[in-house]
């Protein structure tokens, strides 16, 4: 994953934050249809690529930000090149009046760079950055104060949105804070490398196209030529085997000791009597020192920073819980279990008119039809007789396992009403309605039929609950028969 990918990923996560998970799942499945990605990074890269294809311009700022960062790096590099060139040209400036002091070059291009390198390593090894936290805190607060105001001024309608983005970025920073120093290191080392390249080029230009005389001098009495030679030999040790000519000889050191008081080399005699080949002999050492102590560490630091950044970028976001969920969404099977089309709205059920009990009986005789194996018996008959104030003339069964057609006119004879006893948990289905129609056909249009709904499931008989009675009333109402009543068993035994 690249920096551009990472930024795009953050932008997409911010957009998806409030979207329903189901919608995201469907969208992403369509995007990755036909692909079989391998690994988390591959999944995310393909996902982002697919999203970018169909996105509006500006929705994915990753490439723009990455290009801007490249431009910053390029500008830093160009600046380093120019400054390196200028610094070397200034340090090696030779008008012929006095030779260039080797000390100045070593201090500027080796000493300072070694100190900076040591500080850099120290910053990574020791958390000295925390010492500056209070100052950074102040800066942050100032930025946090200024940002919403600037945002509100820039786009008045989207101030809250900008502020939310600011807080989100600051919040997300904790996930990527370990990448930040390496990105910063890469940028600064680009500057450092090109600074040293510029200095080297300037050195070589001066050496090739002009004559430069070098010298060294000191006020210290103890620092004689032999000691200075030991010092520069130690500095030259890294390349001594590769480039022996770049190791200053004792003769060179002795010959180039310079006295500003006398305005002449101490050994070779005064003024221009010095041998140009000898006094210019330092250039190889200085170029090697610049390359070894300036360019090489910077180049190594740059390479490490680039490699480390790339590695952290490749790994960092995948540890995040939010990204982990995206990866699972993209890589795990997408399950759909619902019906393909929504169920059509139900037909309106006509409510039954309140069916009244026929009010017959008072000494008459009724017949009982037990619907679907309702447990019958004397208790039930007594309860029905009491409720309808009629003696029970006969008891029949219908709707059983082996239902057979019954000649109802003969079976119930002149009994009225005919009481159909049904259990509440049974529905008034078509078979039940068929029975009622058969009774009506057999008994004529005005014979009273009463459906008594009971609950016999717990062993004892009792009236069915209101909901079940209502269901039976609604079901029976489909017959549109004014002589059929539905009621619960009111007087259980």
């Amino acid at each position: 994953m690249t920096l551009a990918d990472l930024i795009d990923l953050e932008a997409q996560l911010a957009r998806d934050r409030d979207a329903p998970p189901g919608a995201l799942e469907e969208r992403d499945r369509a995007l990755l249809a036909g692909h079989s990605p391998r690994g988390r990074a591959d999944v995310l890269s393909r996902w982002l690529a697919a999203l970018r294809d169909g996105a509006l311009a500006g929705a994915f700022p990753g490439r723009t930000v990455a290009r801007a960062l490249s431009a910053v790096r390029l500008a830093l590099g160009a600046l380093g090149l120019v400054l390196g060139w200028a610094a070397a040209t200034a340090v090696l400036a030779y008008t012929g009046a006095q030779p260039v002091n080797v000390w100045d070059f070593l201090l500027a291009f080796v000493g300072v760079q070694l100190v900076l390198l040591a500080l850099l390593l120290g910053a990574f090894l020791f958390p000295i950055a925390t010492l500056g936290a209070p100052f950074v805190g102040l800066l942050r607060e100032a930025v946090a104060w200024a940002y919403p105001r600037l945002a509100a001024r820039a786009s008045p309608g989207r101030a809250a949105e900008w502020e939310a983005l600011w807080h989100r970025l600051r919040s997300r920073r904790s996930l990527y804070h370990h990448v930040e120093p390496w990105l910063l290191l890469g940028a600064t080392q680009t500057f450092g490398v090109l600074f040293n390249v510029g200095a080297l080029l300037a050195c070589l230009r001066l050496v090739a196209f002009s004559d430069v005389a070098f010298a060294w001098s000191t006020t210290l009495v103890d620092l004689d030529a032999r000691t200075f030679h030991a010092l520069v030999s130690a500095l030259a040790r890294p390349w001594a085997a590769l480039w022996p000519d770049a190791v200053p000889s004792l003769a060179l050191v002795e010959a180039t000791r310079y006295s500003r008081l006398e305005g002449a080399y101490l050994v070779a005699g005064g003024g221009r009597a010095a041998d140009p080949a000898l006094v210019g002999g330092w250039w190889r050492f200085l170029v090697a020192a610049l390359a070894t102590y300036g360019l090489l560490p910077r180049a190594l630091a740059l390479a490490v920073a680039r490699l480390r950044t790339a590695r952290l970028l490749a790994r960092a976001p995948l540890d995040d819980a939010e990204v982990g969920r995206v990866v699972r969404r993209l890589s795990e099977p997408f399950v759909e279990t619902r019906a393909l089309a929504p169920e059509p709205p139900p037909e309106r059920v006509r409510r039954a008119a309140s069916a009244e009990s026929p009010g017959v009986g008072s000494g008459g005789r009724c017949a009982i039809v037990l619907w679907r194996e309702v447990p019958g018996g004397a208790a039930l008959e007594t309860a029905v007789a009491r409720q309808l104030r009629s003696a029970v003339a006969s008891v029949h069964a219908a709707g059983g396992r082996d239902d057979a057609e019954t000649a109802w006119a003969d079976a119930v004879d002149a009994a009225e009403p005919v009481v159909i006893v049904a259990e509440g948990f049974e529905a008034p289905d078509k078979a039940a309605l068929r029975l009622l129609r058969a009774l009506r056909t057999a008994l004529g249009p005005r014979r009273h039929l009463v459906v008594v709904v009971v609950d016999a499931s717990a062993g004892a008989l009792r009236g069915a609950d209101d909901a079940q009675v209502r269901i039976w009333r609604d079901g029976v109402a489909r017959l549109e028969d004014p002589y059929v009543a539905v009621e619960p068993l009111r007087e259980p035994p």
Partner: protein, 491 residues
């Protein structure tokens, strides 16, 4: 590829066929009604994984006149081998008529190759007339199993099992309204026994469903973590120019703050319900007998029942204070003779004790943080205006009450089947608070995360939010244990 396995869910009208389909297909849109004849057409519910249909559940209208259909079938003597053809003949014979409509519709998918899932209601007693339906299904010659559903309190399962065992090789209890995910997976695993050649498709579906369940749980953990982070870092500010309106504006700020927290919690609940495909889980506004998680977020009852006990809160505060004081002791190399640890513990415990029992946050007259805020305050002071801020809610029990409510709500949603309609039933779904029973290490870890969130309310570090999510995910794994993917597919 051969055609996907099909399972026709059949049974008498109003015995819970659609409930079983709704639960297995996780489809809340399936019409379920106490009135008979709600399902009038055959409807298919394909279980698709990555666009491929692995198996299909077929919801059918109920048997309404099985005895008559069986009588027609038996009217002509046929051998056992000819029985399926005789059933097909019945379907053809009544085609175009208004008779045996439901029977013809429900038999069509079975004759087309679907296996039979015969549903009965085990809450009501067995009656021999049901054997007409079972006999017809036996005549179709298709493999089948029976499911004893429960629509009610009574239990007549044993008598049903005795009857069903005579007609079906496999008989299982399956309460469509209270079944757990594990039980659903076990039922799906049983489907494999109906036809061995359907086994790979069912196995694949089980693995995918388990993965989906785990993903849903993780999504829910993210939602709860987001709720906690938002609620624990929420602040509101108000500048009051008119001195006379200070108290009224201050009250308004406090109301707005607590209303925001309530609304945020409600949003999280809707999101969790949506993750599990529940669109109709509303919090009912019934006044009485509500479980504590459905009380108001700041209701006294909720705060008394949920969250940590006062002793636990004081212990947590003392430990946190002692840890900070201990860090000071470490910096001075122990020269303070552990005074930092002792003082820190006392201050932490004391502040926790002070906070116990306070449910509402208070608005305070403050400025913006840091130097810019100080400058702004000076400017406001000269201008005569006052500025109030409320939040983050500092009460030590607040995150625990919020977490407890979120966990209880999650528990209800995760266990709720798609056959249920309306709000969760009070009492049955209510549990006592969960967080008080957490292990001490877990409580301490969460307390530390809550403290870190509150420390940086404007920009809570994402790494801390991730840690909260992982902690919540671990808790949800205990509440909703999902079978491992490896073991889900095989036996």
């Amino acid at each position: 590829m051969s055609e996907a396995p099909r399972f026709a869910v059949v049974g008498r009208v109003n015995k819970g066929k659609s409930s079983i389909v709704a639960t297995l297909a996780e489809d809340e849109s399936v019409r379920i009604d106490a009135r008979p004849g709600t399902t009038t057409d055959v409807r298919e519910y394909p279980v698709r994984v990555d666009g491929r249909t692995l198996f299909v559940l077929v919801d059918t209208p109920g048997f309404e006149d099985a005895a008559r259909a069986l009588e027609w079938l038996r009217a002509r003597a046929v051998s056992a081998a000819e029985r399926p053809a005789r059933v097909a003949e019945l379907v053809r014979a009544f085609e175009g008529t208004g008779e045996l409509v439901e029977e013809r519709r429900l038999l069509a998918p079975i004759l087309a190759g679907a296996s039979v899932l015969y549903v009965v209601d085990g809450a009501h007693p067995y009656r021999p007339n049901y054997e007409a339906e079972m006999e017809i299904l036996r005549w179709t010659g298709r493999p089948g199993m029976a499911l004893v559903n429960r629509i009610g309190e009574s239990d007549h399962g044993a008598e049903w099992h005795r009857a069903l065992d005579r007609y079906f090789e496999i008989v299982r209890d399956f309460d469509a309204f209270a079944v757990t995910f594990e039980e659903r997976v076990r039922l799906l695993a049983t489907f494999r026994e109906l036809r061995p050649d359907w086994r790979p498709a069912i196995d694949e579906a089980i693995v995918a469903l388990v993965a989906q369940r785990q993903r849903r749980r993780d999504e829910a953990a993210a939602i709860v973590a987001e709720l906690l982070c938002d609620a624990l870092t929420h602040t509101e500010e108000l500048a009051v120019e008119d001195e006379a309106a200070v108290e009224a504006q201050r009250d308004r700020l406090e109301r707005s703050f607590h209303d925001w927290l309530r609304a945020r919690e409600e949003r999280a609940r809707r999101e969790v319900a949506a993750v599990y495909g529940h669109r109709e889980v509303h919090v009912q506004d019934a006044a009485l007998a509500r479980p504590v998680f459905r009380e108001d977020l700041f209701a006294e009852e909720a705060w008394r029942t949920l969250g940590l006990s006062p002793a636990q809160l004081v212990a947590a505060g003392t430990l946190a204070g002692a840890a900070i004081g201990g860090a000071v002791d470490a910096v001075v190399g122990g020269a303070s003779i552990f005074a930092g640890t002792v003082l820190g513990g006392l201050v932490g415990g004391g502040s926790a004790l002070y906070g116990v029992g306070r449910r509402f946050a208070r608005a305070r007259s403050v400025g913006a943080p840091g130097l810019p805020g100080l400058l702004l305050d000076v400017q406001r002071y000269w201008a005569g205006a006052r500025r109030f801020r409320i939040g983050p809610h500092a009460q030590p029990n607040f995150p625990w009450v919020l977490l407890d409510r979120a966990l209880l709500h999650y528990d209800v949603v995760a266990r709720r089947t798609h056959a249920r309609r309306g709000p969760p039933a009070p009492g049955a779904d209510a549990r006592a608070g969960l967080v008080a029973g957490f292990a001490r290490d877990e409580r301490r870890g969460l307390e530390d995360l809550f403290r870190r969130l509150r420390r940086d309310p404007h920009d809570p570090p994402r790494a801390v939010r991730d840690a909260v999510e992982r902690a919540i995910a671990r808790i949800l794994r205990r509440i909703d244990p999902v079978p491992e993917r490896e073991s889900a597919g095989g036996e």
